[in-house]
Subunit: 475 residues, 2 copies
Amino acid sequence: MNSPADNNDTATTLESANDDAVLELESDIEEAIVQALEDGDLDRVRDLVAQLHYSDVADLLEHLADDDRDTLIEALQGILDPEVFSELDENVRDDLVAKLGFDYVASAVTEMDTDDAVQVIEELEEHEQKQVLDAIPAGDRTLIEEGLAYPEDSAGRMMQREVMTVPEFWSVGETIDFLREHADGEDAGKASLPDLFYDIFVVDPAHKPGGFVALSRLLRSRRQVAVTDIMSVEMKLIPVEEDQEDVAYLFSQRDLVSAPVVDPDGRLVGVITVDDIVDVIHEEHEEDIMRMGGVREDDLFDAVGATTRARFSWLLLNLGTAILASVIIGFFEATIEQIVALAVLMPIVASMGGNAGTQTLTVTVRALAMKDLTSTNALRVVGKEMLVGSINGVVFAILTGLVAWFWFDSQALGTVIALAMIVNLFIAGLAGTTIPLMLDRYGIDPAIASSVFLTTVTDVVGFAAFLGLAALFLL
Amino acid sequence: MNSPADNNDTATTLESANDDAVLELESDIEEAIVQALEDGDLDRVRDLVAQLHYSDVADLLEHLADDDRDTLIEALQGILDPEVFSELDENVRDDLVAKLGFDYVASAVTEMDTDDAVQVIEELEEHEQKQVLDAIPAGDRTLIEEGLAYPEDSAGRMMQREVMTVPEFWSVGETIDFLREHADGEDAGKASLPDLFYDIFVVDPAHKPGGFVALSRLLRSRRQVAVTDIMSVEMKLIPVEEDQEDVAYLFSQRDLVSAPVVDPDGRLVGVITVDDIVDVIHEEHEEDIMRMGGVREDDLFDAVGATTRARFSWLLLNLGTAILASVIIGFFEATIEQIVALAVLMPIVASMGGNAGTQTLTVTVRALAMKDLTSTNALRVVGKEMLVGSINGVVFAILTGLVAWFWFDSQALGTVIALAMIVNLFIAGLAGTTIPLMLDRYGIDPAIASSVFLTTVTDVVGFAAFLGLAALFLL
């Protein structure tokens, strides 16, 4: 490298960045650290950790077994980058807080931007919050407490209080001079200049935003140009109470990198940046996936007891619906006693209905989450899914009917299972769309409850249709 | 507003931006447009569409029924913002291409950044690609063709060719002067200056990147400072062949806004920006959710025939596994004939296994996608899930055993179902972790195939354990 790197350290970092495929280096270092921890070579551990980005240190802490993690925390005492804190899974963070003490956490939080600080503190227990806040200098504490006062998952919680604003009468030159004079963001105190920013917001005397200037546009403009001449006025103001999911939708929709947050009077109070949005998108997707899989939240790093308890209620609910299905079957005990082949075949009808319904449900829940399903097209989508269900119902009715006919050498049995299949796949298409739509209308997250309702419907209808038709036509 | 807006239009936009909650305005306008389309008032349609952001126009086109969409396309002929194109769902875009013609598409593509242009063209059919490319000016065409030559879903496809680079010997002042002279990005031709950028890359004479300067840092530095003095050298170079999922992981992990892409010789060839990453994250998550739900891809806007066919193969696979489960039950026909209560109760064991296994599977698949499951902790996770499965197995064994005992007044039947439940929930925990881990090891996406393997295991084990134990102990 020809870069005028002013010490050897920098040069090494640069070289390794060049040699390395994006992700492989980290997992090699991780393995080396685990080895060093096992060898008890703490100096080597510290050397290796120093090569990692703070996000990778957070990942490492999450991946380690409890005793290795304890050793690592001890080895890093005093040199742990506070940024690691904001990247940790909640459980692992609790563990660290307990081991490092509140004073350490308070000093770490003081070094963060307000949005990261709020994010770390909001996840502590209430008494821990108080202890950490008490150990933070008054100025920073006020900003963090203001952040915590906004509703959970709101724009106010996510925003950074440090915003770069300029008055309307400034020129490009004045803006650049101001920035150069306040070059060292830390001198300027909290809530003034952010370390890193992408847009400059133009505010009126009441601190209401009138437009923004992207930095790349500011840099291209001559010194004497007024900021109001180059500012874009087409911008969305995010109310401080806005839900983070809607904020994330806006960012994706508009390809934003930062956006202004305003209080109910329209005054600029903070800015949300895209890195936090990326986290929100991951979080919301995780929630969707977990809920559809019957898990309350990602419990990979939870203890066995907590995981077992968290999953219990879902399984209990499922036991209830399974018993309901059994009760339906119970009504037809006499029928099954006479034709035991019904017991052999009945799970096929229920299972196909469950799977076809889940396909429809997945598409519908996702469409609701992405705001692709509106009053404009809801009826059309329901109609289409019922049609798809009916067509696949007929196709699989024929296939299953033939299987049953040849297996049990009974054309009548084949006909009965075929009819039941058509009924159940039609109902599956109907239930797969209407259940999430109805839950959504009543303000219940369709991801969390749809699938249990759906399988109840497809099991009950599947067993009832098949056994009922059999009782009618085969006895 | 006190802003020096130079015409009434701007002032109106500004006011409405202030009054409006983030998302509500758009859906009101959407409904008004649907109404105007039905009234055949095309002038009003055009007025209303002009108030929408191009992403919202794309959404509107997706939501409309076919005939309304045709009318809208006709109304917008000649005035449709080309950016709308890059935001459309594939099916709807095909429709538009067919209706607007290749010359229109070519002129729209020419106005886009290279990354958006590649994204639009890569999704056309091969003969359409050729026709559109032929209608594009030679310079732009070469850049787009180069982009298309990279593998699908690679960094090369996502990157923008327009990059802001400076030589190592430049100062802050020289950089700003250069930007001011080339203020009008469009004059400078494609592949020189991007419209919007966040970092400046410092390159050596061989065009290898040595570091980057965030614009907010550049703006804070005095004119005479050398760019190499303020550049960060800690940056990740993304190989042009890197998979987009890994690139997205890197962006989330490091909170990046833009990152340099290099060819195999280490030369800077493009830049990836965070707005494309947000799209990739949505796309990858959608793929995960769809695959776990047994849908190949989001088919909300597909025609009935295409949707039916796409879902058919998954249902066929499921029919195979359902028949397999029936075959297992078939082995126990004689047993069921004697104790018909077995037929009533057997779905409970299978269903609970399926649900418990799905919980484990969801957490495991997600952990693999987020790179939270590594060789360091895989064994520990499998062990934990088997333990969770066993504990819940015992709890639900007792519950289900009691239900069966009182329902059929048989303690022996209760004991048999309890034992079967323990076996099946233990196996569900084991299968829920090991199936995705094994698929991942063999390079198969665990999201796509795990659930069918899992339910096969839990159905087969559930029926076999329950009926087998019954045959042993109850006859």
